[in-house]
């Protein structure tokens, strides 16, 4: 119980808030990037569709840790990005892109976009094309069709995608470790440290329980709002 009460200190609350914020930003960005991508895949005909789908799946086959290290060497102060920008005379002195909140979010988005694309793809693929034709036929411009027909009818996909990104995002620790350099600690980092370096297992366990409860709460909320468990791959 002591350990639980410790969890309410200001320092910890800050970390929860940061975790939430980073996860939220990641989720929003994943929707914004994933939706158009999923839409294009789901609405493309025949052969190129398989290819696009593979492009989403293939990165899964490489360890995400390695991919994140890839980003680190790309973004580092002697990485390719800095070199390219210097070559183009956009910047003069090396700039450090690493170890900022934005970098962590970038890494997170990179890791989680496929989790967003797949449920969206399923939802968009189910969308009946004649509804889009009907909407256009009744005088709706593409913009209106998007908000009146496409988004409402794929909302379940958006929702399950968000759950699938937001929840694991809260617990991910190595992205903020590698790209955030310890400046952007999240709940996951905290838990990891209790077990590995601080050797304070009871506190780590208490933190883990909080995280699990939070997850359950979100899933329950998802079900309450009419979400389909199947879309989560359960």
């Amino acid at each position: 119980m002591e350990n639980f009460s410790k969890l309410l200190s200001v320092d910890y609350l800050k970390i929860y808030a940061r975790s939430m914020l980073i996860s939220l930003m990641t989720t929003v960005l994943c929707v914004l990037i994933g939706y158009p991508f999923a839409y294009v895949i789901a609405r493309t005909k025949s052969k190129s569709r398989q290819l696009l789908y593979m492009l989403v799946i293939i990165p899964f086959w490489t360890n995400s840790l390695i991919r994140i290290y890839g980003w680190r060497s790309f973004l580092g102060n002697s990485g390719w990005l800095v070199k390219a920008l210097q070559y183009l005379h956009i910047i003069q002195e090396p700039v450090d892109f690493l170890y900022k909140t934005g970098t962590t979010v970038l890494g997170m988005v990179y890791c989680f976009v496929p989790f967003m694309v797949l449920p969206l793809y399923t939802a968009i693929e189910k969308l009946d094309g004649s509804l889009l034709e009907a909407s256009s036929d009744l005088g709706a411009r593409p913009f209106h069709t998007l908000f009146e027909v496409i988004l409402p009818l794929t909302s379940s996909g958006i929702f399950s995608g968000c759950i699938m990104v937001f929840i694991p995002c809260l617990g991910y620790f190595f992205v903020s470790n590698i790209l955030g350099g310890g400046n952007t600690d999240m709940i996951g980092n905290l838990i990891e440290r209790q077990f590995k370096s601080a050797n304070n297992w009871p506190l780590g366990a208490a933190l883990s329980i909080i995280l699990i409860l939070l997850t359950l709460l979100l899933v329950k909320l998802y079900q309450k709002l009419g979400g389909d468990m199947e879309n989560l791959g359960v």
Partner: protein, 369 residues
Amino acid sequence: MGTIVEMLGVNKRYGSNHVVKDLNLTVNEGEFLTLLGSSGCGKTTTLRMIAGFEEPTTGTIKVEGTPVEEKEPYERNVNTVFQTYALFPHKTIFDNIAYGLKMKKVPKEEIRERVLEMMEMVQLTGFEKRYPAQLSGGQKQRVAIARALINRPRVLLLDEPLGALDLKLRKQMQLELKRLQKKLNITFIYVTHDQEEALTMSDRIAIMHDGIVDQLDTPTEIYEHPATRFVATFIGETNTYDGCVTSINDGIATITLENGAVKVKCDDSFSILEYATISVRPEKMRFSKEAHEGFELVAIVKDYIYVGSVLKCIVSLPNGNELKIERLAGQELPEIGSRIYPYWEPEDAVLIHNDSYKIFKILDEIKLA
């Protein structure tokens, strides 16, 4: 009556598949025009090109005199009733019907008034708050029609709208649609493969076959004077005979068939030694126990079919072809297996140019050269 839709030399190809071939079609204002044909004849593609869902490969489509083939569906003053209804599942019936007006930014009060009025017209009052999934097929159909009609389109396009309904409901909806069309005086372009539906509802029918309009005419003309062999066999029941024109006398041609000579009324477009097809409806066929003057057909009675209102007699010609003959009221029935002489009044039969004739002609020319 002015022209409202005009298609000029319209072609549609999907890759090597030529779906609509050089189509010319004029639709008059306020008429009920049906595109009739079996599946894959290009009728739905034609409709979709007018709606704007497909772009013609070549050719012009004019609605109210302005070319529209470059315009998006939402810029065209036509509305469509889809075969699958395509109702928005997440919107109530009220919102479904109100959709078009909402997009046109009509004031809320007016939308309400017009939707309720429209719902009354299609007998759906009281269903405002329901969702499409809670309606029966016939009710969904009505919502789809109301949703399109509320925009007061100049032309309403209907793509087999009754295809999913059962027979009884279909008959009822046919009459209702026809009534609505007359009442609102909107041009209907209706696609169906059901010839009976087409005959019942249409002012004019365009019969499509392999991407070509074979004949565009009133139901009566199409039934009584089919222009091609396809039209004759597609609409109603008929007996067809292929033969060669051997003589023409005072507008009556003698045609020599495999089974003997017969007489048919013909016009100036036919010439001697031309190959042609005769079409005679079963109700126009006659038979007697003695040979009829000018007819050399002999047949054996094979069977009788009772179809409620009439009795049909199936007879077989020496070459194995079967004919259907409707019995006249009170006529004595010959025994099965007995010999009869089929004939018809020359003006009751239709003579149709036979396309294969052209091939023979070309072959002749090649031989001569």
